[in-house]
């Protein structure tokens, strides 16, 4: 790989993985890195936070990270790979709540009760950092910055879930979905132009409220129009301005 090219998700990012956390530095992918690094957490608090971290995995595609109804005792940040969260609705159908990429946190919705309200399933080979929640809450009560950060993560999680479910046309939703993934991956040091969709098209369709055939049809049309290229699971965004324009109603709202 040439030095200037960013890794294509989910290829493991050698630079990032080697930059693993120690007592005073979090991984650059970590959801909490900004809580401490950017905002100057004291060495003692930082150390305390580190003591809470437990590396778990690897989980393989289809493995549950947690199941709905299990006692809520921890939140987890994706280190590598990706995780799908979903619930079973009253009619017995799965509803995909979201896809979680490196650096993003799962389990936040469990804070509300004492059990996980959803399933979390690994979409590909996935490793996570697990934070015991009772201990984290205790620490947050002593470290206001951490508390703020937790609230911020929580509200972001709720916002993301509501964004793409509006009554927009299929191509607008699809463009917004791809651009959102692209932004999120770019923020973690991955290529914003090329990435793999680790989730099946049924999951994408479920998340965007589109039939799987519609997912494929819209993507095929995008491909025919030169907006992107699809090869198996890999997507390459070729015409960013057109995709931006298409997704503007959602992403600019």
């Amino acid at each position: 790989m040439t030095a200037k090219e960013k890794p294509v998700f989910p290829q493991s990012n050698a630079r990032i993985v080697s930059d693993d956390g120690d007592a005073f530095n979090f991984c650059t992918t970590c959801a909490f890195s900004s809580a401490c690094m950017d905002q100057g957490m004291g060495k003692r608090e930082l150390n305390d936070l580190h003591m809470l971290v437990e590396h778990i995995g690897p989980f393989h595609a289809g493995d549950p990270v947690f199941r709905r109804g299990e006692p809520f005792d921890a939140i987890a940040a994706v280190r590598a790979g990706s995780v799908k969260t979903s619930i079973i609705d009253q009619t017995g159908h799965e509803r995909v709540l979201g896809f979680h990429l490196p650096g993003e946190v799962i389990g936040l919705a469990g804070i509300d009760g004492d059990r996980y309200p959803c399933d979390a399933i690994a979409l590909d080979t996935t490793t996570l950092c697990r934070f015991s929640f009772p201990r984290m809450a205790e620490l947050a009560s002593r470290v206001p910055l951490l508390q703020q950060h937790l609230f911020r993560l929580l509200s972001r999680d709720i916002g993301a879930a509501q964004r793409l479910t509006g009554d927009w046309p299929a191509d607008v939703r699809m463009a917004a979905f791809l651009l959102t993934l692209s932004h999120r991956l770019a923020a973690r040091g991955f290529s914003s132009r090329r990435f793999q969709l680790t989730m099946a098209r049924t999951d994408i369709g479920n998340y965007l409220r589109l039939a799987p055939e519609t997912v494929s049809r819209v993507l095929k049309r995008f491909q025919d129009d030169g907006l992107l290229a699809v090869d198996r699971r890999e997507v390459e965004l070729l015409d960013r301005p057109s995709l931006d324009a298409l997704a503007a109603p959602i992403l600019d709202s």
């Binding site: 790989m1 040439t2 090219e5 890794p7 294509v8 290829q11 969709l197 989730m199 099946a200 098209r201 049924t202 999951d203 994408i204 799987p212 055939e213 997912v215 494929s216 993507l219 095929k220 491909q223 699809v230 198996r232 699971r233 997507v235």
Partner: protein
């Protein structure tokens, strides 16, 4: 790739050594028993999850022949008992049912191919029933986008039956000829007249089977330049759209039928190369384009057009204009290629049938390709179809530095470069005109499974 083919017999002689034909990479000998039904189910499920799932290609293997051609290394059952064909249909339908269940219903079949054996060992009504069953279980592309092809033995086909095949939707036919020289035909146990062959070609054209391929073989017993030249002239008068000219590989230890061929009657290696030279010169002079390996086509044929456009592909059925597809192999010994996996059905009817009657997909071996396998498969595919390797595109696609990744392969390529078979340019590796006849040898340099050890004897020679 240019159309001219030049031949340096001395060069070909030196490179005439055993090697795979690369209808797949990795090749079938790398398949392992651990790849089972469950692995195939997972591969199919994964392929359904692609954002734009690939189209499907369906291959149906009909293993029966009424008499053995002595050169043939295909999986086949020699019988005159037509009830064997009827008995084959029930498990075949069982397998179609199991296989169709693996794929999302919106996935389209873009290619259907019947091979053998002899597909027309089955009666037209039986073939029609198989096609109808497939059409019920799978969604087929519109007729314009559907390649529907069948291998035909003209000796066992009445021209009236060709009309029935066309009515079922077949739009391509491939006819075995090999050689019209009666002495050669006697020695290989395949006596086939010019008249019955021409009648089938003519019937195909009349009934709208628009594309006709004819297979020839060089290197058969008693074959002479005079006789083969006559065969070429007769075949060219039929003006097939495509021609395949295969080299006969005499491996009697592996292919039992070949023990019936007296090795003393085979042309010498130089004589064999002379026959190849004759074929290439004759076909080129008649306006055929060399597609690659042993395949030729008229310049307005889809394959030639696709090659010029860079959109030619190759799979177990040979060269094709269809984009990458997931291949479903049905019938005894058939190979499937779903996602990054290969899987093969048992090579004997009893095991194949027993699995299906048990409600199991009849997989007896296969493999899941590693990242390295996939990279090398893409490279071999480019080489076989376009005669060149797009270095930059592979580096980008697979995030490698080509020169360091393929350091060993590039060392193995040195003698081929020195012999003028290959040119290495900054952004591509190109097979030269003589190199295009030796694509197998070039691909072998990049084959991770061919170590420094002797090439296994199971592969036929390159020429």
């Amino acid at each position: 790739m240019t159309n001219g083919v030049t031949l340096d017999v001395d060069l070909l002689r030196r490179y005439d050594r055993p090697g795979p034909r690369y209808t797949s990479y990795p090749t079938a000998p790398q398949f392992v028993p651990g790849f089972d039904e469950q692995a195939l189910r997972e591969a199919a499920k994964e392929s359904n999850g692609d954002p734009i799932p690939r189209p499907l290609s369906v291959y149906v293997h009909v293993p029966f022949c009424t008499s053995p051609c002595f050169y043939c290394a295909c999986n086949r059952v020699i019988t005159r008992d037509r009830s064997r064909g009827a008995a084959y249909l029930a498990p075949l339908y069982g397998e179609i049912d199991l296989a169709a269940g693996l794929f999302d219903p919106d996935r389209e079949v873009a290619q259907l191919h019947f091979g053998g054996g002899t597909p027309n060992f089955l009666a037209p009504a039986q073939l029609r029933d198989i096609v109808a069953t497939l059409r019920r279980q799978f969604r087929f592309a519109n007729a314009d986008d559907l390649d529907c092809s069948i291998e035909l033995d003209p000796r066992a086909l009445r021209p009236s039956e060709v009309a029935e095949l066309a009515a079922m939707g077949f739009n391509r036919a491939s006819l075995g000829v090999q050689d019209f020289d009666p002495v050669v035909q006697g020695a290989v146990n395949r006596v086939q007249s010019v008249g019955e062959t021409a009648a089938v070609v003519e019937a195909c054209r009349r009934h709208g089977i628009g594309s006709v391929n004819i297979d020839l073989i060089y290197g058969l017993p008693h074959q002479t330049p005079g006789g083969f030249s006559k065969t070429l002239d007769i075949v060219l008068a039929m003006r097939p759209d495509r021609l395949a000219v295969y080299g006969y590989a005499h491996l009697p230890k592996l292919v039992k039928a070949q023990t019936r061929i007296d090795a003393a009657t085979l042309p010498t290696r130089d004589a064999k190369l002379g026959l190849l030279q004759l074929a290439i010169e004759t076909l080129t002079a008649a306006g055929y384009v060399h597609i690659g390996m042993d395949h030729f086509a008229l310049p307005d044929d889809e394959l030639a057009v696709a090659q010029a456009r860079g959109s030619l592909h190759r799979n177990f059925m040979g060269y094709t204009t269809h984009a990458e597809s997931d291949l479903i192999g049905l019938g005894v010994s058939a190979i499937s290629h779903i996602g990054a996996t290969y899987s093969q059905n048992p090579r004997d009817i009893a095991s194949w049938q027993a699995a299906i009657e048990d409600g199991r997909l009849p997989v007896f071996r296969g493999m899941r390709m590693s990242d390295d396998d996939q990279l090398r498969a893409a490279l071999v595919q480019q080489l076989m179809c376009q005669g060149e390797v797009a270095v930059g595109a592979l580096e980008r696609r697979y995030a490698i530095d080509f020169r360091s990744y393929f350091r060993d392969a590039l060392v193995r390529l040195q003698p081929l470069i020195a012999d003028g078979l290959v040119q290495v340019e900054p952004d591509r590796i190109l097979a030269t005109s003589p190199g295009r006849l030796l694509l197998r040898n070039i691909a072998m340099c990049f084959d991770a499974y061919l170590g420094e050890d002797a090439i296994p004897a199971r592969f036929s020679r390159a020429i």
